[in-house]
């Protein structure tokens, strides 16, 4: 099992979610995050006081999938979240030791 964390643009969430569910990859957690990579921040001005905003708002989508589904899921996210401009985000993949469904106590793949 692997966890896929994808940092994406806000307005791409619907597309990503729809593409994943269409491919039968269901269940995800979304959080609002701030950060920066290569995309540069912007300047904001309030009555002449100027601030450089480095940390840009993004969404982080987290999902856990079986090993054989990782490639498919990543491909779907890339296709649905891409605009081709700097700032499209990143995908991180990490191994997961165990998954437990709270209601039934099931573990492993069946709990995903």
């Amino acid at each position: 099992m692997k966890k896929i964390e994808a940092v994406i643009r806000h307005f791409k969430l619907e597309e990503v979610k729809n593409a994943l569910t269409a491919a039968n990859i269901v269940g995800m957690t979304v959080t609002e995050v701030r950060g920066f990579g290569r995309q540069r921040g912007h300047k904001e001005q309030y009555r002449g006081a100027e601030y450089t905003v480095d940390f840009l708002p993004k969404l982080k989508v987290e999902l856990v999938v079986n090993d054989e589904e990782v490639e498919k899921a990543v491909k779907i996210i890339i296709e649905s979240a891409r605009t081709g401009k700097v700032g499209d985000g990143k995908i991180f993949i990490t191994p997961i030791d165990e998954v437990v469904r709270i209601r039934t106590g099931e573990t492993g793949s069946t709990a995903i």
Partner: protein, 455 residues
């Protein structure tokens, strides 16, 4: 037809009222029959009083609240709300009397302490406010709303760092020793700066409070931020407004409330009130597009905060002249004045390096002074036909002298009063919260609450 019927209806009602009054007088040989009040005037002054109250909260509270960081939103709301309570009580106890009582040119007296002779003096007998056709109690209530918003404006200068307890004491003293005297100078019939006091040495035109409200609060704001010092981290860490939506809503409410502020200063429902409202509206409009336009030209974008600031600047600027300046000249006045305010908030502030958190000085102080002086230029006899030339465009450039004197007087009492009060409080109570408290935010440390709770 409908209009005529209404007219007759009114006439009949009036006749009935007269009859019932005279019958009443004969039957009881009553103590001087209660004066019949002018329903139109009473209705408008009731409305205006409510509008001016609305300016402090939610208007000003939202306007200022959106500009602070989110850990301090409640402290700003509390300052505005608490002043509604505190200043109102003081106004009833002695504030009104000290402002409008007696016949001295310099200060009121204690004739109306605890609203003596303001509230009914006999069953159903309401003392009248001169020849205005409204009860004294209503005039007192309307003026009381100004006693709330003026100190509330100062809060913008020391936002995010002043101790709440000290603020309360400061406002009591400030209201007593700064506001009451200058309100008496300018607006009491015998005040030495009063426009309609023919015996006054300087008959300054201040219709709705350019000097009394905006210069005093704006200058006191500057003194406050100079004496109290900057917020922790000012200039090093970003302090952008946390919710400009609030600020925009607040600005719109201020704009609307100002119709009562300036329109109500006519103390009647008449052409003067119409001028107050109309000039006010167009000055705000001109101020808005001026500020936003300057940003657009200078920085490439017109900002929401700029539009809000411009509208408020326009409103401040026209306040002293809203009874004498007609709408077209009001727009000219607002355009000139807004440029000055814009310069004060963007250039002067960063050059002088004072931390006027929410630009109380830049908008109200600078706008108040500019507006008071420009009133001497644009005031005209056209509004009320007072039987004399008023401002520069009437050919009476000498009006600039009393305008300048009133500005100097307002600056003087604000600087001296605020400095003395703050120095005393600094030595006794302390002005600022501790560094830890300031970092944590005033909401939690001063009030034990949070503005935004997520769970």
């Amino acid at each position: 037809m409908l209009a005529r019927m209404r007219y007759w209806g009114l006439a009949t009602t009036a006749m009935l009222l007269c009859c019932s009054n005279s019958v009443f007088a004969e039957e009881t040989a009553a103590p001087a029959a209660a004066p019949a009040f002018d329903t139109g005037n009473v209705a408008w002054m009731l409305t205006s009083s409510a509008l001016v109250l609305m300016m402090t909260a939610p208007g000003l509270a939202l306007f200022y609240g959106g500009l602070v960081r989110k850990k301090n939103i409640l402290s700003v709301f509390m300052q505005c709300l608490f002043l509604m309570g505190l200043m109102s009580v003081i106004w009833a106890v002695y504030g009104f009397s000290l402002s409008f009582g007696g016949t001295s040119p310099y200060i009121g007296n204690f004739d109306h302490v605890l609203l003596k002779d303001i509230l009914p003096t006999a069953p159903g007998v309401w003392p009248a406010q001169g020849t205005t056709g409204i009860p004294k109690a209503l005039f007192m209530a309307f003026q009381g709303m100004f006693f709330i918003i003026t100190p509330a404006l100062i809060c913008g200068a020391f936002a995010e760092r002043m101790k709440f307890s000290t603020m309360c004491v400061f406002m009591i003293l400030w209201g007593t020793f700064v506001y009451c005297p200058i309100a008496h100078w300018v607006w009491a019939d015998t005040g030495w700066l009063c426009e309609w006091n023919t015996a006054a040495p300087y008959r300054a035109i201040d219709f709705a409070g350019g000097t009394v409200v905006h210069i005093t609060s704006g200058i006191s704001a500057l003194v406050c931020c100079l004496i109290m010092g900057k917020r922790l981290g000012f200039g090093q860490e970003p302090m952008p407004p946390h919710n400009l939506t609030y600020t925009a809503v607040g600005a719109a409410m201020l704009w609307m409330g100002w119709f009562g502020f300036n329109g109500g200063s006519a103390v009647g429902s008449n052409a003067l009130a119409v001028n107050g409202m109309v000039s006010t509206h167009f000055a705000a409009a001109a101020g808005l597009i001026t500020w936003a336009g300057l940003e657009w030209i200078q920085r490439g974008k017109a900002s929401v905060l700029g539009a809000c600031s411009g509208a408020v600047a326009g409103l401040v600027l026209i306040t002293p002249g809203s009874g004498t300046v007609t709408a077209m000249w009001a727009m000219v006045l607002a355009v000139i004045g807004t440029c000055v305010c814009y310069w004060a908030c963007t250039t002067l502030k960063s050059k002088m390096k004072y931390d006027d958190s929410l630009d109380a000085f830049g908008v109200h102080g600078v706008g108040g002074i500019t507006g008071a002086l420009l009133t001497g230029v644009f005031a005209t006899e056209m509004v009320t036909n007072p039987g004399r030339k008023l401002g520069g465009i009437d050919g009476n450039w000498a009006q600039l002298v009393p305008q300048a004197v009133s500005v100097a007087a307002a600056i003087g009492i604000a600087v001296v009063g605020t400095t003395v009060i703050l120095k005393i409080l600094d030595a006794t109570m302390g002005l600022r919260v501790t560094q830890d408290d300031e970092v944590q935010g005033l909401d939690v440390t001063q009030h034990g609450e949070e503005g935004y709770i997520f769970y």
